[in-house]
Symmetry: C2
Subunit: 325 residues, 2 copies
C-alpha cells in the first residue's frame, strides 16, 4: 500500500509504503490508520505475511521479494516510496531492512530511535532494541545519528546528547560508555553538544535532547517506563473510584483527567525510527490501533520530508570515529 | 549508633548499627530516623566520614577501622550488631562490606536487591547496581539469593523468578541470560519457581516475585521507573491546577490523591539489601529523609529477624551452578 500526503509548501509529495499485514492486527488497523492521513493509495497484493514470532533469518528466507514486509521496504529501495512503515516483528523488519536497503557507509550497525515524552517535552532515545551490546564506536555513531534526527524533529542547530550510565561521576560505568564519552568530549563536534553521562531518571526529566545507550538496556528502560506509566494510571483509576468524594472529584476534574490521559497516550509517540540504513523505515508497535499506526506514518513522513538520511550523511562527515579509523 | 527493637514474640532483640555520617544529610536524618523506631541507642564516636563522591578504593584506604561506615559494618562482623544501615555512597559501602564482612562461600559477587512496587503488590529486583556485567553463574546465584529474600519478605514457599530480557521468546537476548535460563529450567529447584524471561513492563505488572538482571541494566531500570513516576506526578499536579473545575475536583478527591501520593512515596520502599555477604547490610537512598531512613532500618530489621543469611545458605545447598562447578 502506498499513500501520498501533500502539503502546500512542498512541491514533491512524500510517498510512504505500508506493510499492511504486519503487527497483531494487520490490515484491520493499517488501512484505517492510513485512511486518517492518506490522499491517494495504491494496493499491492502479497501472498506471504511474516508472523510476529518469526526468526529474522526465516523472515528473510521466506519473505525475500515476496512478503508484505519485504515489499514495503523494497518500494523504498526502488525509489517508489520515500519511507516504509511496518507494525511487524522488530527483528524480522530490521533484518529485512538491512538485507534489502543495506547499511549506510561508515555505519556498522543500525539502531532504533524512539521519541520519549519528558517533563520538558520530548527527547530521542536510542538504541531501543536493534542490537545487543555496543562498543565505543557504535555509541558514537548512535550519538551522531540521534543528533541528526533531533535536528530534524526539534529543529535544533546543536542538540544536547548524553550517554546513559549508572552514575554521573566519570569513574563509573561500562568501559565502552566511558570511552565513547572521551571521544565525544574531545572531538567537540559542530552539530552535537555532548553533555556527559545521564542516569535512568534523566530520561523522564528530559535533561538532554538525545540519550544514547546500547540496545538491551535501552529496550528494558523503554518498556520499564511504559510499564510504570500503566501502573500509575491503574493506581490513579483505583484511587478515583474508591470513595464517593473521589468519584465526585473525578467528575469535576474529568476534563483534566482526559488531558492527562491524552498526554500519557502511548499511541501518540508510536514509531521507532531505524537509523543507519540507506532508506527510511519506521517500526510501529505491533499491538497499536489505527490512531497509533497513523502516528507512525506521521513520523515516517517527517523523516522523509526533512531528509533524515542527508542530515545523517552530512553529520557523519565529522564522525570522530570514522576519521580516526 | 546501635539500636534495639524488641518484639513480644521474639526472645532476642535485633541490634542494628547505623552509619550516622552517611548520605547527603548525615546525622540530621539518621538520628530522627532511628528515633522513629528505637528502643535503646549507644553512640560511638568516629572522626572520619566517607563522602558521597569517594572512590571505593579510597573509602577503604581512608576508612578501614575508622570511618563511621566501616564501624557500622564492623559491628556486624564482630557480632555486636545483627545488621548495618548506611545512606553513604553505594560503591564505598559495598567495598567496605566486602572487605570487612567477606563474601559468602560459593558466592562470587554480592548483589543489591530492592523492593519494587507493582500492580499486584511488591516484587524483589536485583542487581540494581552492585556490579556491572554478569555471567550465567552470577545470574543463577542472584536468582537463588533473591528467592531467599522473597521467602522471608513475602513468606512464600517457592517464589516465582524471572530473568529480565528484551523478549519473551527463547531465541532472544544476551547469551548469559539464555544460559542462566537453561540452568534454572533444568535444575528445577525446590525453593525457586523459574518462570522464564520477563520484559521491562513486567516489573510494574508484578509478573514474578523476583526479577533478576545484571547491575547496569537493573540500576537504569530502577532509576527510569523512579523518573517516570516523578514525571507523571508532575503531569498530574499540573493537570489538577489548570482549571477551576479541576481545582474543585482536586479538593473533593483530596483524600484519594493523598492515598495515591502515599502509595507512590519512594521513602516507603527505601532500603537496598546487600546479598551474598557474611552479614546483613542495607543501603538507604543518600538523599532520603528521616522517614525514608526509618524504612531502611525496618528492612534491615526484617532481614536480621527472619534470618536472611541462613535462608540463603540453605538455598545455596541446592545451587545448580555450585553443584556442577
Amino acid at each position: 500500500m502506498t499513500y501520498k500526503k501533500e502539503q502546500s509548501f512542498m512541491p514533491k509529495p512524500v510517498r510512504i509504503s505500508l506493510d499492511a499485514m504486519g503487527g497483531d492486527h494487520g490490515p484491520s488497523i493499517v488501512v484505517p490508520g492510513a485512511a486518517l492521513l492518506k490522499e491517494a493509495t495504491e494496493l499491492r497484493h502479497t501472498d506471504i505475511a511474516i508472523s510476529m514470532d518469526e526468526k529474522p533469518s526465516q523472515a528473510i528466507r521466506m519473505g525475500r521479494g515476496k512478503s508484505s514486509m519485504w515489499r514495503a521496504v523494497q518500494a523504498v529501495r526502488d525509489g517508489e516510496a520515500d519511507a516504509a512503515v511496518s507494525a511487524g516483528n522488530t527483528g524480522a523488519l530490521m533484518a529485512t531492512a538491512k538485507v534489502c536497503l543495506k547499511t549506510m557507509a561508515h555505519i556498522e550497525r543500525p539502531a532504533i530511535a524512539c521519541m520519549w515524552p519528558t517533563m520538558r517535552g520530548e527527547s530521542i532515545v536510542l538504541d531501543v532494541g536493534a542490537t545487543i551490546g555496543a562498543d565505543a564506536g557504535h555509541l558514537v555513531d548512535m550519538a551522531i545519528m540521534g543528533s541528526a534526527m533531533a535536528r530534524i524533529v526539534f529543529d535544533l542547530e546543536r542538540p544536547t546528547v548524553g550517554l546513559l550510565n549508572v552514575g554521573t561521576e566519570e569513574i563509573k560505568g561500562i568501559e565502552a560508555v566511558k570511552e565513547a564519552g572521551r571521544i565525544l568530549k574531545e572531538s567537540n563536534l559542530p552539530h552535537l553538544d555532548y553533555r556527559g553521562f545521564v542516569e535512568g531518571d534523566d530520561l523522564g526529566k528530559g535533561t538532554v535532547d538525545v540519550v544514547v545507550t546500547e540496545g538491551f538496556t535501552g529496550n528494558i528502560a523503554l518498556k520499564t517506563a511504559e510499564g510504570t506509566a500503566k501502573q500509575i494510571a491503574q493506581y490513579l483509576r483505583s484511587a478515583m473510584s474508591r470513595t464517593l468524594m473521589a468519584k465526585i472529584g473525578y467528575l469535576f476534574a474529568k476534563q483534566a483527567f482526559n488531558a492527562l490521559r491524552d498526554k500519557m497516550d502511548p499511541r501518540k509517540v508510536n514509531g521507532g525510527v531505524f537509523l543507519g540504513l540507506e532508506g527510511v523505515v519506521v517500526k510501529s508497535h505491533g499491538g497499536t490501533d489505527d490512531l497509533g499506526f497513523a502516528s507512525a506514518i506521521d513520523v515516517a513522513y517527517d523523516m522523509a520530508h526533512f531528509e533524515l538520511m542527508n542530515t545523517i550523511r552530512t553529520m557523519l562527515e565529522h564522525d570522530p570515529v570514522g576519521q580516526t579509523a
